[in-house]
């Protein structure tokens, strides 16, 4: 179409074009059919050309995810905590809605991507600014769990596993803390068993039961008052 000089004229590739095409392709043919080769073909280019713009397929997936998560529209400043959280979560949902593969990719990432961290940090910030204690905010974030997007878990998780990525070096942790202050605050209060300000470890079982009981409480209340979706 837009050839210009001679043999290879079509507007040169770049990371954004690659990611955009990948998202569109995944939307079209499904995430499991998305391959580097297929994507290259779609872009009219040889497979290896992609590697000049993304390090490997995993980074491609990370980039695709961040493209979508980064498009989440933040609520207007000054909104009360409840509406702000509600709006942000619903915005996240609508951002993900058109890309059925996104949730699955999210789940499969070993570490949260920058946009995901930024979103998490923002939601934590809403609770903290709304007067929630670090403690309650922590539990509440766990309870929101996958409803946030699906990625709250294992932010600074130390639990082992065959596929556990290597621990981040201290310098990287410090940079993370600077960039995502609310995440860091929660982590400081919850994940270190010794030497932390709060001193409680993060007990996954407790978090799970906390969220479960919160829901069961709600169910019970609705049930007792004869709630119906009609009104």
């Amino acid at each position: 179409m837009a050839q210009q000089t001679g043999t290879t004229g079509r507007t040169p590739l770049n990371r954004d074009r690659v990611l955009g095409a990948a998202v569109a392709l995944a939307d079209g043919i499904g995430i499991e059919a998305l391959s580097m080769r297929r994507l290259a073909q779609e872009l009219g280019v040889v497979p290896m050309a992609l590697y000049k713009h993304v390090a490997n397929k995993d980074q491609l997936l990370d980039g695709m995810l961040d493209l979508i998560v980064g498009a989440i529209v933040p609520p207007a400043p000054g909104t009360d905590w409840r509406s702000a959280v509600r709006q942000r979560v619903l915005a996240a949902r609508s951002a993900l809605l058109g890309h059925p593969w996104a949730a699955q990719v999210l789940q499969s990432r070993a570490r949260p991507t920058p946009a995901v961290l930024a979103h998490t940090d923002a939601v934590i910030g809403i609770f903290r600014s709304g007067g929630f204690s670090v403690d309650l905010t922590h539990h509440v974030m766990h309870a929101l769990g996958s409803r946030l997007l699906g990625f709250t878990q294992e932010l600074f998780d130390d639990s082992a596993g065959p596929a556990t990525p290597p621990a981040l070096p201290p310098a990287a942790l410090r940079e993370l803390a600077a960039r995502y202050p609310y995440v860091a605050e929660l982590a400081a209060g919850a994940t270190h068993d010794q030497g932390s300000v709060v001193g409680r470890g993060c007990d996954d079982q407790f978090e799970f039961e906390f969220a479960l009981d919160l829901l069961l409480d709600g169910f019970d209340r609705l049930h007792r008052q004869g709630w119906t979706s009609g009104g």
Copy 2:
């Protein structure tokens, strides 16, 4: 070890041995490193031998999942609904806990496996027996969402997508309904827009907001009363 007659003596393969070895292997080396070839090697057998016991890799994954989900211990009969749900969900959690790959595999399945359906049916049954209306049960199951195990969504979902499996033939649907009566009851009440008893379609957005608001209500209550995890 247990060779007996001559060349090929080791107790012959069967589906259960294959699935068991696959689970153990996935636990050991991670789900993404699990390949038919690697599994065959672990069993001292040529890769193609596995195909005499599982149709393909997808069915292998389904079988592995069902092995784990099938091990969920049901609560004692006669338990009140709240304790029963609580116990069942916690039992599901503990069944999945030792297999970090299970949740991810669950998410990736196009259709729920039999054990997953059975579990879902059982939980629905608890609510119904506890006096919950079909309507409330439906919403409540959505709210439980991934906390049930991660598979409540898209049971009879008609939403399209590139990887959508072909619709089940009516005969298969009827068999499903017979085997999982509570699931069928919910489906009848919710997924058909016309000709159903209740007549409301299943509005995913509504379900999402229902669950979100239930949680936000809970958060608000805890926040107001100055709740702390200490007690």
